[in-house]
Each structure stands twice: as structure tokens, then as C-alpha cells.
Symmetry: C2
Subunit: 152 residues, 2 copies
């Protein structure tokens, strides 16, 4: 199995980072404005992505597997690109001085191919968006996300 | 073994991307301004990183294993953080319409831990710097790189 992992530090209390990860409203402000559903444990969240000209270019749904307040958020993808189905995303939070450290994992990919590499790069830009949201109040969710290549 | 992989698209001819990856002068404009050595096959390149207040926070040396013009650059790390020694970095280039696609790999990590996650995130920001350099003429090499967490 192949894992995408990233580490980012947010200069803010852990509660703000956790809120951005554990609620539909929060996710909509850093990942994609088209986020809907239930963010309770066992709930399903749907996310849709659009190009800057408004065309839908992808969508996924994920089940909320675990929520450990100010410590961890765990999603599992139940629909979307075939490569994503059954994969897990976890955000593990800790405090280190003035930083909230986010250890991100998108785990259990079957292959480490060009699409995985694209998604790794996209996650990094969305984590910068998460940080900007919590530190400044303004993230860069899709469709205003940082485009990285010809796949968006 | 654990691999960091990323994919980025640069709206520029492949020759410009290759030049930025295959020469000491190029690397100094997107990775770290403190780049020196020989970028020929079999040569050794040294890179040093500094905090914004000028303190050295890390350094590595790498051997240039392969250079395939406009197609591939391959480095192997010979000194630096223990986790980096013996790991391989490859940049594989291809053309797709108006984009030069860079498939990046930092391969053969022994562990996928928090330091690997930090390096994955840093590589993503340096690839954005590479893209900015080739597309606009100005990258963000260390010490003016995008800081991502409390480890820089």
C-alpha cells in the first residue's frame, strides 16, 4: 500500500484547526466550497470540485469514521475516483509551542502512479489553504484553489 | 521502502524546466540560493538551507547519477540528514499540450514518519517554486522559501 503524508504547522490554537476539519462549514472554507452532508461520526460528506469556468471535474463522498476532539479526524472514501474508494484520510493534531501541528495521511492507495502524485501535490496546496484559513480567516477552496497541472 | 511523489505542470517548454533542474545555477533559483558543486554526471552538488535570520538549519550533498536531456534528472544523496542518505530524487519530464509535466519522486525512505511528511510538504512548495521560476523568471529558493511548520 502507498501512503501520501504531509506535515504542516498552523500558528493558531488546535481548536480552530479541529473546527476547520470536523465540520462541513469548515471543510467548505479550505477544500471545496461545494461540501455538503453530515460531519457526525458515521455521517457522509460529499465534496464536488469545479474548474475555474464552472465545469464539474470531480466528486467524492466520504464516511466520517472517527472524530477525536482537537486530536484526530478520520474519513474513508466511499465513492469518487476508483483509486480513492476505500482509502483513508487522517488528520492528527498536536500542539508544539505556538504551532498546531497537522500530520496528514491519505493512506492505502493501491498504486503510487501519476494520479497519486497529482493528488499528493494537490493535498499539499489544500493544507496551505487550511493553514491560511485558520491563520487569516481566508482559505483557497475549490474552485479558487491553487492549480498545479493539466489535471487541475 | 517509502516514496514521496508529486506531479506538477509548468506552462513552458521542457528545455527551460530541464535547465532549472540540471544546472547548479538553475537549482539555486528554486531550491536554495546556497547551491554549489558540479552538476555533471558523477559530480557532487552541495545544498545548504538557512532560516530567514541567516542561521544554517540543514545541508546535504548529492551525486548526479543520471542526466537525460529534457527527459530526466536523477540525484542520490550522499550526506545530510541520516534519513536522506542513500535516497534518490528523480525528476521525469514529459510534454502534454502546453504543459511540461514534472513527475517528482524522492524514493527509498526507510520510514514514513513525521520528518518524511515534513519533507513531502516542503518538496511540494519547492516544486511550486520551480514552476514559478520557469514561468515567471522568479522562484522562491531558501532562505526565501515558503515555511510550512516549526521545522521550517
Amino acid at each position: 500500500m502507498v501512503n501520501i503524508i504531509h506535515r504542516v504547522g498552523v500558528k493558531a490554537p488546535v481548536s480552530g484547526v479541529y473546527a476547520a476539519l470536523s465540520t462541513v462549514e469548515g471543510v467548505a472554507e479550505w477544500w471545496t466550497i461545494h461540501t455538503s452532508g453530515s460531519s457526525k461520526i458515521g455521517g457522509t460528506i460529499a465534496v464536488r470540485f469545479h474548474s475555474t469556468d464552472g465545469k464539474e471535474i470531480g466528486n467524492m463522498t466520504m464516511e466520517v469514521i472517527a472524530l477525536d476532539p482537537n486530536k484526530k479526524v478520520h474519513w474513508r472514501f466511499t465513492s469518487g475516483p476508483e483509486e480513492w474508494i476505500g482509502t483513508d484520510v487522517t488528520f492528527t493534531l498536536s500542539q508544539d509551542g505556538e504551532y498546531t501541528i497537522v500530520l496528514f495521511g491519505h493512506e492505502n492507495w493501491r498504486e503510487g502512479d501519476a494520479f497519486t502524485a497529482h493528488c499528493s501535490m494537490k493535498w499539499a496546496t489544500f493544507l496551505l489553504s487550511l493553514r491560511a484559513l485558520v491563520e487569516t480567516g481566508k482559505g483557497k477552496p475549490s474552485p479558487n484553489d491553487i492549480k498545479i497541472d493539466n489535471w487541475n
